[in-house]
């Protein structure tokens, strides 16, 4: 049984780390009985009794009258919802530095980022033993923070977990997943939150989870994933490959040439979908009310959006709107859809020869905030080159801690065929045997 922190303790902790954007006011009552487990929901998942702001000022005060399906399922299983976790605005970020509600701090080092966009979820999973953090990934938003905060981050197949009650970023890409400290919690909680939900048609085509245990024999490493790594990640990854071989896993290097198109295709699709999804935040059905309603609706909508969207949200709306405009649609949007199929086919080809595909999760360990400030937007986007391909392809993937450099964790990311989450759980468990996990003692 995990320890449940008191509300005071949690608030104290949160003043330093800002992992939560909102904490349950009634935690003390929840202490009255020992709940089977405690969990959190990323702030883009709706939960009764909490605001759902998706890290955006434009949703300040929005209180959904219902639970997102995965939240409802965890509550029904007896879990206590501690609060909502901080995130990049609508999921737009690699470092969790684009939130309208403060920037979460890495539990390993206060001067460093948690990773985005589920940064608060990763920090919560890292700090609180036994905590189950619901995250969401569009292009790597579970893997990246899991890597920077030294926890497991499982992103299931697109459609495995209902998206009902999720505030959309990119509908063809969004996936709800889990961030936890221990591999056994993945096996316990994935079946609870998975399954067909008539309220989300994309969840209704799924085959059942196959969780019978099998050992992983072969893992493929694309040579394209071994470029542009920092020296410490390169060394840590080499060491991890050695450890896998000692465990009897055969490592093979493969060529996946389509990966060089994946990042561009992803940013075209993600921003195209985001720019249409964000059209609803205009101060009428959704979004804070802005200026006078005696204005013309165009001016009224424009005022609300211009004042309350953050900088990265505006940047992505512009990019996505541009990519869908007449004259550019074939060059960007339609091309990106073709590339997605190409990437899926290439993975399928590799899965004919190996059980899983493996890469480092991120090309570097958690960067300092001072380093992030100097990055241009394209440089930040390029940092996603390892997490984007499985997300674009809707393939299940798992980031797990594979080593530490100067006391900072780094992750490696396994990718499985569609619907084969079981292989990832098998890998997580065999890797965990004898691995010395480290967690900062911030919550005693």
């Amino acid at each position: 049984m995990s320890c449940l922190p008191t509300a005071d303790k949690l608030r104290d902790l949160n003043e330093r780390y800002l992992a939560f954007s909102e904490i349950s006011p009634s935690l003390e009552e929840a202490q009255g009985y020992p709940p089977p487990f405690h969990f959190s929901a990323k702030d883009n998942l709706c939960a009764k009794g909490f605001q759902a702001r998706a890290g955006s000022r434009i949703l300040e005060g929005y209180r959904p009258p219902f639970d997102a399906t995965p939240v409802a399922k965890l509550r029904a299983a007896g879990g206590v919802l501690l609060g909502k976790t901080n995130m990049d605005e609508f999921g737009f970020g690699t470092f969790c530095t684009n939130s309208g509600y403060g920037i979460p701090r890495n539990p390993f080092d206060l001067e460093r980022a948690c990773g985005g966009s589920s940064g608060g979820a990763a920090a919560a999973a890292c700090m609180l033993d036994g905590h189950i953090a619901l995250g969401v990934s569009t292009g790597g938003s579970i893997s990246c923070p899991a890597s920077f905060c030294g926890v497991f981050g499982l992103t299931p197949t697109y459609g495995r977990i209902s998206r009902y009650g999720l505030i959309d970023y990119g509908n063809s890409l969004d996936k709800v997943g889990l961030l936890v400290r221990r591999s056994e919690d993945l096996r316990r909680f994935l079946p609870i939150i998975s399954g067909a939900d008539p309220k989300d048609p994309t969840s209704c085509a799924q085959p059942p989870l196959r969780l019978e245990r099998k050992s992983i024999r072969t893992v493929a490493v694309p040579k394209q994933a071994l470029q542009n790594l920092s020296p410490e990640v390169e060394e840590g990854f080499e060491h991890a490959l050695g450890r896998l071989e000692e465990q009897g896993v055969e490592i093979m290097q493969v060529d996946m040439p389509s990966l060089r198109f994946a990042l561009s295709a992803y940013y075209v699709l993600a921003t195209s979908e985001a720019s249409t999804n964000l059209a609803r935040y205009c101060g009428m059905r959704f979004g804070v009310r802005g200026g006078s309603i005696s204005q013309h609706y165009n001016d009224f909508f424009t005022e609300v959006r211009s004042e309350h969207f953050g900088r990265e949200a505006k940047r992505r709306i512009l990019l996505g709107t541009y990519a869908r405009m007449v004259g550019y649609r074939d060059r960007y949007y339609m091309k990106a859809l073709s590339v997605r199929q190409l990437v899926i086919s290439e993975y399928q080809n590799v899965f004919g020869r190996s059980d899983l595909v493996l890469t480092p999760t991120m090309p570097f360990v958690a960067p300092r905030f001072s380093e992030i400030e100097k990055m241009r937007p394209l440089e930040a986007y390029q940092a996603d080159f390892l997490t984007v391909p499985p997300n674009l392809a809707g393939l299940p993937h798992l980031s797990l801690p594979c080593g530490y450099a100067d006391a900072l964790p780094m992750g490696m990311q396994f990718v499985a065929p569609h619907w084969e989450e079981g292989r990832l759980l098998d890998m997580a468990e065999s890797w965990s045997k004898g691995f010395q996990f480290r967690f900062p003692e911030v919550c005693r």
Partner: protein, 90 residues
Amino acid sequence: MDVDTVRNVARIARLRLSPEEERQFAQDLEEVLAYMAVLDEAPSGGEHDFNPVPVHDVLREDVEARDVDADGLRDSMDIYQDLVRGPRLS
């Protein structure tokens, strides 16, 4: 992407940008689009779908049901004589 294009796209997206934002976004997006030119080298005309996995069609006949509490929703809106108030249409 030049400043005029940024201004035009922003207008379509219902965003009003400051001159500083226009300059900055033009510079940022010019660099991003130059990088995305790699897509020109990707094979085109291949198969595509709008989702990465097949999605079931769940269309069905309408069924009367109460999903969320209408009063609760109404109370969170700007209401005048039981109608939702909005900006001028003309």
